[in-house]
Symmetry: C2
DNA sequence: CTGAAAGCGCTAACAG
DNA sequence: CTGTTAGCGCTTTCAG
């Protein structure tokens, strides 16, 4: 069997509790005994059993990240920020993909709570209603939300300023002269996406542009693709599309290519997130930049604060700012040719 | 405090061990008592403590995935396959990013072993030498490798047929008439990348094409970018580049755009992996398709087989096949103009 | 500064 | 089919 604390205690000629104190870096042990214990432990190739420790301390030093799909580069970025922050605080991070499936999400949550993870980071599914919220609270685990739930909650949230991002996108398209504008987005009641649309509509409205035609689908690469394939054939009047996120925008881009609809000459396209690859797709995507890595990082920090406070920490809403990144996928409505030439001259825009 | 097994046992009027049997879905309990226990558990909102269970059973039902960076879409895909497979078997997956840092990797491994994860999936850092291998073995944890270590090992591996992929890339470029070919790749001694180069060189050699100029850097988006910025200015004779993976190829693409080097008109570019976005970058990337999701999935299955066998399972090497996907980033050397015109139909190019 | 004792919450023989 | 009895490997009072 594996060598235990008792084994090394015996070998070092001390009591298990003393050995424990040494290995936990506890203050108040004789430097001599300490060194001896450490050495014996090293010699015997001792591996502390953290699950045993967790049983008594009640801390697992494990967090979880519950998202829809890690293949979405947005979440990969968030995940990396979260993992770095977790690791910096001595925690591991469990990755869970819920695919926007409410049941799957609930199963994960139950399972995670049984494993006594210290806290959970999640972008909740669309329909996080009162009843579900109650279940979450019953879990008695600190949770930080990465999107805004439809109802006021007890949970802390950290997210990008989605409303402002939508507003930036809307006023930019309006300013370019577009009037027949579509918005391709994900499921309804998705906190972040909903806010984006709100801000977008508000901007169009205040610029006296007709409200956008809104189409719901999957907020993913293939979701955007499918939506575009279905919509672009019928609605030939559309001159600009605001995609709910970059992944969808990429899907729209692929569909447009297949349909021989040039971007931005015939349709302007703007995304949301500013994923790494936005700058090299064809054409480089104009989009709203969100602090993805920082969101993951900040969310973990908030979460850990809750964990350490043990429930006595008041919820906080943290909103990180966004900005418009202009590349080459949008063009003025009136002067298409000029725009095309200009974009060419500009080459690429660093941000 | 939280309600424990004892609590619900008492409330249901049975012994803790009986309650345990009910909740573990153990056969051989009276259906009546079983129902009663389950109901009481539900009423009292009982949450099984899996860390306590783990302490006695020795199984944590947690696996770990140790990769260089989840932001690499290749790994995101692998991770998703792994997570799905793990979840299907009732396991959670811890995500670790090592950034190709040997020390960081070793720290993760130690920490994971202390947490008593059931098994680890990893793409080892470049330098997995004998001494390090010994340390891994001392961990006494089932490990499945996602790349081929430089020395023969006791570990199972599951990976793409990198050699064949390199060969496909090489013979394709040779067939297009290229003779001055560069290979941009990651650190030396990286199992998979090394194989790719081997296959590539073999193909060039058997086509009587001079061996490739090999440049090592970071095998990432920015790594490819930096390499291209540094190399393309000086080596004007290069007509084709084989990038170690798609991420690098994207970086090369960005650099080429900045340097006003048209792809594929002046330089042909081929990648490796066939990441989702390869089809929509500018221009769509010709690349080698690898079964990423399946690798993650198969690796977890192999890993779990080892876990269940408890060390008595012989190591197995599993190699999944690859194929060449021809898009628009490569052109024949002799007929550049034709190629340029063709590519133009697809979308827009800088020039 | 160190030892002894008492669990953390659960499962696993072993009886009954 | 169910209860009793021991722990799993560690931390943590509480004495000394």
């Amino acid at each position: 069997m594996a060598v235990t604390l008792k084994d090394i205690a015996r070998a070092a000629g001390v009591n298990a509790s003393t050995a424990s104190r040494c290995l936990s870096g506890f203050q108040g042990v004789n430097e001599g005994t300490r060194q001896r214990v450490m050495q014996v432990a090293a010699e015997m190739n001792y591996r502390l059993n953290r699950v045993a420790r967790g049983l008594v301390t009640g801390r697992s030093h494990t967090l979880a990240l519950l998202i829809s799909d890690i293949r979405n580069p947005y979440f990969a970025e968030v995940a990396r920020g979260a993992e770095d922050a977790a690791h910096a605080s001595g925690c591991d991070l469990i990755l869970c993909n819920s695919d926007f499936d409410g049941d799957k999400q609930m199963n994960y949550l139950r399972s995670l709570s049984e494993k006594r993870v210290d806290g959970i980071l999640m972008n909740s599914v669309a329909s996080l209603r009162r009843e579900q919220l109650k279940q979450l609270i019953d879990l008695r685990i600190p949770i930080v939300l990465l999107n805004k739930p439809p109802v006021r909650t007890e949970f802390s949230t950290v997210l990008a300023d989605n409303h402002e991002g939508g507003r930036l996108a809307g006023s930019y398209l309006a300013q370019l002269g577009h009037r027949t504008i579509a918005h391709f987005t994900g499921p309804k009641h998705h906190g972040n996406l909903t806010e984006r649309l709100r801000g977008f509509s508000a901007a169009l409205n205040s610029a006296r542009v007709p409200p956008p035609l809104v189409f719901h689908g999957q907020n993913s690469f293939s979701g955007g693709y499918q939506l575009a394939r279905r919509i672009l054939a019928d609605h030939t009047g559309i001159t600009a599309i605001f995609a709910g996120n970059d992944a969808m925008a990429f899907g729209v881009g692929l569909a447009a290519r297949e349909l021989k609809i040039p971007i931005p000459e015939r349709i302007s396209l703007i995304g949301f997130d500013d994923v790494d690859l936005s700058q090299i797709v064809n054409p480089p995507l104009t989009t709203i930049q969100t602090p993805k890595y920082e969101i993951g990082q900040a969310a973990v920090e908030t979460l850990l604060r809750h964990v350490r406070a043990g429930g006595s920490q008041p919820a906080e809403q943290r909103i990180l700012s966004v900005k418009l990144v202009i590349r080459e996928s949008c063009a003025p409505l009136a002067a298409k040719l000029t725009a095309a030439r200009q974009a060419d001259v500009g080459g690429m825009h660093e941000d």
